[in-house]
């Protein structure tokens, strides 16, 4: 195993100062559920000489409600997300995603910040945060910036953040009254399995069933995780027709093939993306 210094951050300031001083030679460990595997498989860059542990930084672990806004510290674990009554009430799509991850051990260690920063194509909280239109707060040294999660990903396992930048917080507006949300995933077994594909949806219809808001995102589908706005637009301002559920799935599967190319798994993924989308929409939208 690669040799490195292990530093336990005492505070947020300590962590940021340390990271700034290391200029990319330090790697942050939070839950470690990805980094430890990387270390074992020799995937850590040889330039890294320090691993900084932020799991003890209490300032990063919180779920707060400020009016319409929900703010989550990047160091909050999946288990904490899955147990939060604030979240189940304000954004159940994220609660469901967090609850579905790995196993109790992984949920107790892994954090929402780590899930975003690692940006595995199958990350379960990412589609949920995409449909929540979450904003990310990052800090580099003393300077702080905010970015929309939709603009944060560059490709599989690549995000638009500097090596010495730390993700502090994820925030989003609570679901509007009457909005429905759903998270579903397909796995090879019922626990401890990466999502073969996952889907998050938020939908709002008025009393005449007219769709006022619809947001759809699927993981393990495109190189850069995204919302599927073409499919969303099919329903906006209209009363959903049953046949549009499958049509939306086909729009998404075409977009997948366009963006990912026709891969070894596409024969399987294409019909399943369509089916997952149609099934999810059927569950959250009332049709005419």
């Amino acid at each position: 195993m690669q040799e490195f210094d292990f530093v336990k951050a005492k505070s947020l300031d300590h962590a940021c100062t340390m990271l700034a001083g290391k200029r990319g030679r330090a790697k942050v460990i939070a839950g470690g559920t990805d980094l430890m595997i990387g270390l074992r498989n020799h995937r850590l860059s040889e330039e890294v000489d320090t691993i900084m542990d932020i799991s003890g930084v209490g300032e990063l672990a919180y779920i707060r409600e400020e009016g319409e806004l929900i703010r989550i510290g990047a160091g909050t674990t999946h288990a904490e997300l899955a147990l939060s009554s604030i979240l189940w009430e304000a954004a159940p799509v994220l609660s469901m995603a967090a609850k579905s991850i790995g196993s109790p051990q992984i949920r107790n260690r892994g954090t929402i910040g780590g899930n975003i920063i690692t940006s595995a194509p199958c990350a379960d909280t990412v589609p949920a945060l995409l449909v929540l239109d979450a904003a990310l707060l990052l800090r580099r040294g003393e300077s702080v910036r905010q970015v929309q999660i939709a603009d944060f990903f560059e490709g599989p396992y690549r995000v638009k953040a500097a090596e010495d930048e730390l993700l502090l917080e994820i925030s989003f507006r609570r679901l509007r009254d009457g909005a429905k949300s759903l998270f579903d995933k397909l796995t090879r077994r019922n626990a401890l399995a990466k999502a073969r594909m996952n889907i998050a949806v938020i939908a709002l219809q008025d009393k005449n069933k007219v769709v006022k808001d619809l947001r759809i995102s699927l993981g393990s589908t495109t190189p850069i995780p995204c919302r599927f706005t073409d499919a969303e637009r099919l329903f906006l301002g209209k009363v959903p027709r049953r046949e549009d559920f499958l049509k939306a799935g086909q729009i998404i599967s075409s977009e997948m093939v366009e963006k990912s190319g026709y891969r070894w798994s596409t024969d399987y993924k294409k019909p399943v993306v369509e089916a997952l989308t149609a099934a999810a929409l059927k569950r959250v939208l009332k049709a005419e």
């Binding site: 196993s103 090879r188 019922n190 401890l192 399995a193 070894w264 399987y268 019909p271 399943v272």
Partner: protein, 766 residues
């Protein structure tokens, strides 16, 4: 007959140490001055080794030895042609070309990466088809056609040509199964030490079969068998797997231990373990079956190719077992079966719980349902009509004579079907599946039978030593090995029952090849059967010795004495008695008797006709029947098993809790085999290297399981027990495959029935 100790769900004899963590496993052992060893693996599936340069590795500070084939003092080729080190050629990516031993694990890891090997790639054969193709590259130049030596086994009964002429319907189907990894929780470990007191070597580790490993290490080291001592520690599971790779580890570390004069420890990483250890053989099985309109089967012909990998020492036995069972638990007058083992430049097949049965039973029982569907009769009916019944003749020619070999299968099928409500649910699910709902439900049936013990594979001997100490404690040691299956507990119960004493008096010692004689391997569900018989024989000798001595003390004839509840008493005369605690010190201290006895069980060889494969293949058979209920999402291919109802005939239950645990564990392992587990490869390189990819079932995948146990009398094992270690694994895959067909109308003939196969009917390759 009422029993005092057996038939009861007593606590495992080694439960406390294992639950509290006090029990040590191989990796927990450390010896002063030990070195850490690491194997340098082949870079190619098939290549010529041009040169090996160890200089850089040897120059690294802390490296004490780098060894290659040139350092092997004895034979480099072990049982099954496994090389201690690949010398001129590597034949798969798990071949070891060198091993380094260093003062720390990290130095060993670094040194392994510094060993420079120059290769010239050779064409590789990676599948059964490639290996059998005309003009295929040869894995072993002296094995023409890539057929593995001694692996063609056959069965000939009746006349299949005539049988097919009598058939109203003939079906031909091909089935395939995959290589799967055992997935034991403890990875392999071996520690070899130079014998401190004499010439030789002492080996500890996670070793399933210490005697065969002792023999092979002796050959590699040019030592006499008695100069190699093997002490398998506690094993964290094995299922047949801790054998070939552990043999190589033992040889490599023992050579290094003697060369350096220091203990050498080698613990495999999970990735190394999955690369280098045996897998369940992959099968390609072609079947042809003929039946009359009413459902009576008249002929069966099958040709089965078993993928053996680069080296193999198990297909010669496993294929024989398969030849006896390849017609299933049915009365079929005309049978022609052939099995062939095939070399490929891939991971290799070995022993894995079931030893050919999981593959064969998947094929047979899928075929039975296909035949039933073709004939328009129910899966239950076709089995009831054709299953083995008392008086029937097996394909081997053995007759199921009541009182000799029991045949309760018909009754078991009826009971499992009624308990699972099979007929009603079949109709109910079919009706429910006709709608638009993507989730369909299915129910499927499967049956099996299994020859007990080794049968014609080898002589089914076992040895045991039972010793009563001065304080009345009783120590047992078997030549067979505890791997988590609960064998020691069964042995302790048998000894306590026989001696008429309490279970709490029994202690055990681990197996040690220098203490107990070689009674063969711990395989073939024979721990209780053969091992228990050896215990019974030893305990009976001691009992007789105790009764004779008590007769002298009590001044009565010993034949009238019995031991019960630790009191030796003359039948019907309460006053003529002495307690076990009084008797023991008198025997040992006053009379100088030895209260140590060896038990040796030897049923003798089974007679077989090499021309037809027929004869007394096994002394007895056990039976199983299972019904699986599933849900499958027809839009995604996701399959969940809701419930399994199963019945097993097993002679006598020595410990019901352990028996049910074994059978449930088997059903779950069989379910993983059926729907999830695979070993994915790409161009000869293994991709599945750790548990994240291996897809063993988790607790959330496990269905409700309902098990019915059938006991029968007049069996060959101790107190009428037979073996139940393996049969549990056999029925899940076919019962699920049949349920899947019921749910969807589509037949999946390849394992595993994963998302892609269920949805698309085929697997996808990366």
């Amino acid at each position: 007959m009422s029993y005092k100790v057996i038939t009861r769900p007593l606590k495992r004899i080694d439960a406390r140490e294992k639950v509290t963590g006090e029990a040590k496993f191989g990796a927990d052992l450390n010896f002063s001055g030990q070195l850490y060893a690491k194997t340098v693996y082949s870079r190619y599936p098939h290549a010529r080794v041009l040169s090996i340069n160890t200089e850089k590795a040897e120059a690294l500070h802390g490296v004490e030895a780098v060894i290659t084939a040139a350092d092997v003092p004895g034979e480099n080729e072990l049982f099954g042609r496994f090389p201690v080190f690949a010398e001129k050629e590597v034949k798969y990516t798990g071949d070891g070309v060198a091993m380094v031993a260093a003062t720390s694990k990290s130095i060993a890891e670094k040194a392994a990466s510094l060993v420079e090997v120059e290769y010239e790639e050779l064409p590789a054969v990676l599948t059964i088809e490639e290996a059998l193709a005309h003009g295929a590259a040869l894995v072993h130049t002296d094995a023409p056609g890539n057929f593995i030596e001694n692996t063609h086994h056959l069965m000939r009964a009746g006349d299949v040509e005539r049988g097919f002429e009598e058939a109203d319907i003939i079906l031909e189907k091909t089935y395939r199964t995959q290589f799967v990894e055992h997935g034991y929780i403890e990875p392999e470990v071996v520690i070899a030490l130079p014998e401190p007191y004499r010439r030789g070597v002492e080996i500890h580790g996670s070793i399933q079969n210490p005697y065969s490993i002792r023999e092979n290490v002796a050959r590699a080291l040019n030592l006499r068998i008695s100069e190699v001592r093997v002490i398998p520690g506690n094993l964290g599971g094995s299922f047949g797997g801790k054998d070939e790779s552990v043999m190589l580890m033992a040889a490599r570390t023992a050579i290094t231990a003697l060369k350096t004069g220091r203990p050498v420890k080698m613990v495999l990483t999970r990735e190394e373990s999955i690369l280098e250890s045996a897998k369940r053989h992959s099968y390609k099985a072609k079947y042809k079956i003929g039946a009359r309109k009413g459902g009576t089967i008249v002929a069966l012909e099958n040709t089965i190719y078993t993928q053996g990998g680069a080296y193999n020492n198990k297909a010669r036995f496993a294929n024989w077992r398969a030849s006896v069972h390849a017609a299933g638990p049915y009365r079929i007058p005309n049978v022609k079966t052939d099995l062939y083992g095939v070399y490929t430049n891939t991971i290799y097949g070995g022993a894995f719980r079931g030893f050919s049965a999981p593959q064969v039973v998947f094929c047979n029982e899928s075929l039975m349902d296909e035949l039933a569907a073709e004939l328009g009769i129910s899966p239950k009916e076709i089995r009831l009509k054709n299953c083995l019944k008392p008086g029937d003749e097996l394909v081997t020619g053995q007759v199921l004579r009541p009182g000799k070999i029991p045949a309760p299968l018909k009754q078991m099928i009826e009971e499992v079907c009624s308990r699972s409500d099979f007929d009603r649910k079949r109709e109910e699910f079919s009706a429910g599946n006709s709608g638009d709902e993507p989730v369909k439900r299915g129910i499927g049936l499967a049956c099996t039978f299994r020859g007990t013990g080794l049968g014609g594979e080898g002589i089914d001997t076992a040895g045991a030593t039972v010793t009563i100490e001065k304080d009345g404690s009783v120590n047992i040691v078997s030549n067979l090995n505890e791997m988590g299956q609960g064998m020691r507990t069964a042995h302790a119960q048998i000894v306590a029952e026989t001696l008429g004493i309490s279970y709490g008096r029994i202690t055990f010692s681990p197996t040690d090849t220098s203490v107990v004689p070689d009674g063969g391997p711990t395989v073939a569900s024979r721990g209780t059967l053969a091992g228990g018989n050896a215990m019974l024989i030893a305990a009976q000798k001691l009992k007789e010795r105790l009764l004779m001595e008590a007769g002298k003390i009590l001044n009565c004839s010993w034949e009238g004495l019995v031991i019960e509840d630790e009191i030796i008493q003359y039948r019907g005369k309460e006053k003529l008695s002495i307690t076990f605690d009084e008797l023991i010190p008198r025997c040992i201290m006053e009379r100088g008797l030895t209260l140590s006895a060896q038990g040796w069980y030897n049923p003798g060889p089974e007679e077989l006709d090499p021309e037809t494969g027929r004869g007394n293949a096994y002394p007895s058979y056990i039976y199983g029947c299972a019904v699986a209920e599933i849900r499958v999402n027809t839009l995604t291919g996701k399959l969940d098993v809701d419930r399994i109802t199963a019945a097993y005939e097993l002679g006598r239950v020595i410990n019901p809790q352990i028996v049910k645990g074994q059978l449930m564990g088997g059903l779950i392992q069989g379910m993983g085999y059926g729907i999830m587990e695979d070993t994915e490869t790409k161009e000869g390189y293994l991709i599945t290297r750790n548990f994240d990819e291996l897809m063993l079932p988790t607790s959330l995948d496990i269905p409700e399981i309902d098990i019915i146990l059938y006991e029968t009398d007049q069996n060959i094992g101790p107190y009428g027990a037979k073996g139940i270690g393996e049969i549990g694994v056999e029925l899940s895959a076919p019962a699920i495959a049949n349920a899947l067909f019921h749910a969807t109308g589509r037949r999946v003939r390849e394992l595993p029935m994963n998302l892609e196969r269920v949805l698309l009917g085929r697997a996808l390759k990366r």
